[in-house]
Symmetry: C2
Subunit: 240 residues, 2 copies
């Protein structure tokens, strides 16, 4: 039985929506502004949650409540996805989800390798973050003899020295980097050689597209903690 | 022996800089603009890396290269920290680090509890992200009987049912949430009762300050992957 959950939350059990959804969707006809692009991942999560709860239509004001994006802004944003809202009916959730999924590459079936099989790497493998976004982690690599050969999920950890060969023999779009800071310099050459299209970088050293020869998205958890601490301090300063 | 590492990277072995550094630093006299605040965590990491490499002074152009913030912007930003740069000398790294650390609450010695002892929780405990920012994780809680009583790092996992009592008896500033989406609704009441000043939220459901009765920083790893995938698709569309 499908478990009901709060529609704001990201469900785990829908992977095939883009494949099964009605694909007769109007595609965006113009360049989507960066500010709208930034909100797409949130719409994606929200719509996925709605579908998982069998909610097939939703008004802009309800979707506004769920996403935290104000209703006028939301209506403007969603116009880029084929004007799927109708007055008095609301949005067709499945069509909107399909259209946004396509923008976010969920239907591309990208493949990835995970490099760095520590706790964070394990957390990523064991979550469904990647699968939910259409990304399949094909293999896991690490440089540490104490980890190589062990299993993570159902994948055996390979020696990072095998990475170049693996990528020559297997189409691999993305590298997920969960490496310590001091492993960066020796890995960067290998990563460039592998010809990834994208690098999802969790390591504590930022990379840019040039460094990696690929689109890079850095996710610096420490900076997020610093931002929280700043806001807490600011609050205390205001109260003083 | 202290290991040398790339100055862009975040070293693990300096915790006490704010305490030992020269504290006679000019403090910011006015409100720091939000755009500058957003760059502070990056300056913080960079300056920490420099100190770890015994670099005691640095020019704005070198710091610009390291941080990726353009030199004119960087000079403007750092004026909020007491004009610590001198023409022909550069910035006093220790003073600048100390000043920015204070803004980021590193010297406040905030305390935290971690809620959710899964892989991600373990990754956070085993990293030094928190310690480096002056935050001490005092205790770990989880709701699952299979995890309660086990050790993470050197902390025994307690039953989340004990959280309210723990926070009454122990000053605790921050909750680090590494819980699954479906645990949110039952936990939210407890979290509000505990009176945290801040919530660092890794769970896949966003919270706002009202939800938690505290400053909230959401870190949605999935959105970061979606952003990467969008840029990869965009690149492919441009090449077509």
């Amino acid at each position: 039985m499908r478990k009901k959950q709060n529609v704001q939350e990201e469900p785990d059990d829908i992977y095939s929506i883009p494949a099964i959804a009605d694909r007769a969707v109007s595609q965006p006809e113009c360049v989507i502004p960066e500010a709208v692009v930034k909100r797409l991942p949130r719409y994606f999560r929200c719509l996925r949650g709605l579908l998982n709860n069998d909610v097939m239509k939703i008004s802009s004001s309800e979707l506004s409540d769920l996403t935290g994006v104000n209703a006028a802004q939301l209506r403007q944003d969603l116009k880029y996805f084929g004007g799927l809202g109708q007055r008095g009916y609301g949005y067709n959730v499945k069509k909107l989800y399909t259209s946004i999924s396509e923008q976010l590459g969920v239907t591309k079936k990208y493949t990835a390798v995970l490099i760095g099989a520590g706790n964070l790497g394990r957390a990523i493998i064991n979550s469904r973050l990647c699968e939910q976004r259409g990304v399949w982690i094909k293999a896991v690599f690490d440089g540490s003899p104490s980890v190589i050969g062990k299993e993570i999920g159902d994948r055996k950890v390979s020696d990072v020295a095998e990475l170049r060969r693996f990528c020559r023999e297997n189409k691999t779009d993305i590298a997920v980097l969960c490496i310590p800071a001091d492993a960066k310099s020796e890995l960067l050459g290998i990563i460039k050689d592998c010809g990834f299209k994208g690098v999802w970088n969790f390591s504590p050293c930022e990379l840019d597209d040039c460094d990696a020869g690929a689109k890079v998205e850095n996710i610096c958890t420490g900076d997020s903690l610093s931002a929280l601490l700043y806001r807490m301090c600011e609050d205390e300063r205001e109260k003083e």
